[in-house]
């Protein structure tokens, strides 16, 4: 198994499950489940035990591996060299399970839905561009930018709202940008995170073929997950594109005065999506954007930037729900953390975070106290009440 030797480098210091100041636990699955095996160090040793045949594959083993949200906090916190490929190791261990066919039913169903139906919801391909109706964004045909929306933005009702609000900003700015609509296929980021590297390769190759055939050079993604796949993984398959997350382009457009943020007197805080922040290194652009909104009051949550607490939706969990909900689910903890800032708006930049946190707001019963809004909505004065 690739990266197997890394398991010998972990000596269970436990730093991986903490936040930067070691003041709090910052590993989403550890927060939820409480057992050491659900923390990175524990997973490491479990994988080592499996590699050395001390344990067999079991439902529990699968659950432990598949509840990792791939948030990358452990990569930040680990003090050993193994930190570089820490998540790759977990992915390799998952690939071993996938190869055997030994994956939890929810994970299996996610793979099957993507490979048979092209999306996790088994919705028809023809519905894929429907979010764009009436927005005025064109189908990509030699435009400067491709706006890549992804599965969640195309089908999930909250994701579609975000796609619509982001696309509206681009259209208002007069940008040369088009979307694939019906032709769009899954980026595969979460397929890879779940260990199905063969299905990921297929998706990557199909996407690269499609983008090249269309003459796509610059891609703007709605979803940080796609941002990660296109930027980091696709070049390995010969797909070289200029990839930006929509927040980066927003900042450029604001600086060029192509878009003018409406003023707002809201008090907001910002949640760093793991695939934009820790994985993507983009922490400043969203904050710069918020600074450009006249009148907006911004304050940071306790854990922010590299230290942000994951919403729990990564690692395919958004689709498989392996992590589950409950009071100690990371999303609900994060909402409580946002409430501590006294803010009325929790700004997000990822459609998965948007839904995870919105569901958590409802579960906490704090709908009247805090609203989830994406950056595009914030530029327009905040989410419609």
């Amino acid at each position: 198994m690739e990266y197997a030797d890394l398991t010998r480098l972990c000596f269970r210091c436990g730093y991986c499950k903490f936040s930067a100041d070691y003041g709090e636990f910052n590993c989403p699955s550890y927060l939820k489940f409480g057992f050491d095996t659900y923390a990175p160090g524990g997973r490491m040793w479990l994988i080592k035990a499996w590699l050395t045949r001390q344990i067999d594959i079991s439902a529990n083993y699968m659950k432990i591996l598949y509840t990792c949200a791939t948030c990358g906090n452990c990569k930040e916190q680990c003090v050993m060299d193994l930190k570089t490929n820490l998540l790759d190791l977990f992915e390799a261990a998952k690939s071993e399970l996938v190869e055997e066919g030994a994956v939890p039913p929810a994970v299996r169903d996610y793979f099957k839905a993507i490979s048979i139906n092209g999306n996790p919801y088994k919705e028809p391909q023809s519905e894929r561009g429907k979010w764009a109706e009436g927005i005025g964004i064109e189908v990509f045909d030699g435009h400067e930018y491709l706006f890549y929306v992804g599965d969640v933005g195309s089908y999930d009702e909250r994701g579609k709202k975000m796609a619509t609000s982001v696309a509206s900003v681009f259209v208002d700015a007069g940008l040369s940008i088009g979307m694939l609509g019906e032709e769009e296929i899954s980026d595969g980021n979460d397929v890879k995170a779940l260990g199905e590297k063969w299905l990921f390769q297929y998706l990557a190759e199909e996407n690269i073929k499609l983008f090249n055939a269309r003459g796509v050079k610059k891609i703007i993604t709605l979803d940080p997950h796609a941002y990660n796949a296109f930027r980091v993984e696709y070049p390995k398959f010969g797909g070289n594109f200029e990839v930006q997350h929509y927040t980066q382009l927003f900042l450029t457009l604001i600086k060029n005065k192509a878009i003018h943020p409406e003023s707002s007197d809201l008090k907001v805080t910002y949640h760093d999506p793991c695939y934009l922040g820790r994985h993507g290194g983009v922490y400043d652009a969203p904050r710069e954007i918020l600074k450009c909104v006249p009148g907006l009051h911004f304050s940071e949550m306790g854990r922010n930037g590299k230290n942000a607490l994951c919403c729990g939706g990564g690692g395919g969990n958004f689709f498989t729900d392996m992590m589950g909900g409950g009071e100690e689910s990371p999303a609900r903890i994060r909402v409580r953390e946002a409430l501590e800032t006294g803010c009325q708006g929790l700004v997000v930049a990822c459609p998965l975070c948007a839904k995870m946190l919105e569901d958590a707001v409802k579960a906490e019963g704090v709908e009247t106290r805090i609203r989830i809004q994406d950056l595009a909505e914030t530029l327009k004065g905040g989410v419609e009440r």
Binding site: A106, D156, F319, D321, G324, G325, G326
Partner: protein
């Protein structure tokens, strides 16, 4: 040779299942079209007095085989008895309900008699002396009209579809002499599911509750019970600990395909819709008129489920009272009585 329609009844917990009355009503309607007699075979634990209920729905002859041991041998013994009966009576049509028991029986009988079978039939037409049977295919995404060559034609009617119709007559009751013989399979146990819980994935009617119930599933359960349906829950309800994960309908729960799905206090996130969008009829009750579920429903009521559901329950109890186990009313009968 006079034409005959043979209806096979099903006993459930000491009474005829609703589908038996549905099948019998349909049998009566067919018989009236082809000038035939309706013979009903009652196999299993049924006293003569109870069997006479079938007169209400148009039975001409009732064959009673009161043999407790029939149920112990499973499908084989039923099929053996019915094979003999079918060869004696030579009916044009054999009708039964497509319950699990009925499907099992119909399939084996079809092969035994080398007779064509319309499984889960939702409609029967007679034109120019030829029968056309309608049934769902491809998970209900396609409706097929089929013709069956030869006789008998076996029809397993889908429950909750054929209209029950009162058609009272004086029936002749005969004892059906059967030799059960030894079946190849032996039923060694039968356990009714705990709390009469209905398996959601195969349920025909489901009433589901979500966040809007605020944890009180009382109205949901009451409505489900009245409709003989299963109780489902959204992820929010399961997440909050109000219902077990087993009840969750949705992408990461159960995928269901009932004839009727009533969503109460459920907003309609795509993850939930993925679990029930193939339901034939979807009804939504939600206090929020903007809830996404309405866009995917056939009928919707904006309102407080704690007021709306009791109103529905009340209406059902009034219009369709259970007057005891043996004499259900059907819509046609109600309108006849009123006017």
């Amino acid at each position: 040779m006079s034409s005959r329609v043979l209806v096979i009844t099903e006993r459930q917990d000491g009474s005829f299942g609703k589908v038996t009355y549905e099948a019998l009503s349909e049998g009566r309607r067919i018989a009236d079209c082809i000038n035939a007699e309706v013979t009903v075979a009652v196999l299993g634990d049924c006293r003569e007095a109870d069997a006479l209920e079938l007169e209400e729905y148009g039975a001409d002859t009732i064959l009673l085989a009161e043999i407790a041991s029939l149920s112990s041998y499973g499908t084989d013994s039923y099929v053996n008895v019915l094979e003999k009966l079918a060869k004696e009576l030579r009916p044009q049509i054999i009708l039964l309900g497509a319950t699990d028991h009925g499907k099992d029986l119909a399939a084996q009988l079809s092969a035994r008699l080398d007779a064509g079978l319309a499984m889960e039939c939702t409609g029967i037409k007679l034109e120019n002396g030829e029968f056309t049977f309608t049934r769902p295919m491809y998970g209900g995404k396609v409706i097929a009209d089929i013709k069956i060559k030869g006789y008998p034609k076996i029809v397993a009617v889908r429950p909750n579809v054929m209209k029950m119709e009162i058609n009272r007559r004086k029936a002749v009751i005969k004892d059906l002499a059967v030799v059960v013989g030894k079946g190849r399979t032996l039923v060694i146990g039968k356990k009714v599911q705990s709390e009469g819980k209905i398996n959601l994935t195969e349920a025909d009617i489901i009433v589901s509750g979500g966040r809007g119930t605020r944890g009180d599933f009382g109205p949901i359960e009451a409505l489900a019970s009245l409709l003989d349906g299963g109780v489902g829950a959204s992820r929010a309800a399961v997440d909050a600990g109000w219902r077990p994960h087993n009840d969750q309908v949705g992408q990461t729960g159960k995928v269901v395909s009932p004839t009727l799905y009533i969503a109460c206090g459920i907003s309609g996130a795509i993850q939930h819709l993925a679990g029930m969008s193939t339901a034939k009829y979807i009804v939504a009750i939600n206090i929020d008129s903007e809830a996404p579920i309405f866009a995917k429903s056939d009928f919707g009521i904006t309102g407080d489920l704690f007021k709306v559901i009791p109103a529905i329950v009340n209406e059902l109890r009034t219009k369709f009272p259970a007057t005891g186990i043996s004499r259900p009313l059907c819509p046609a009968a109600v309108s006849i009585a009123l006017f």
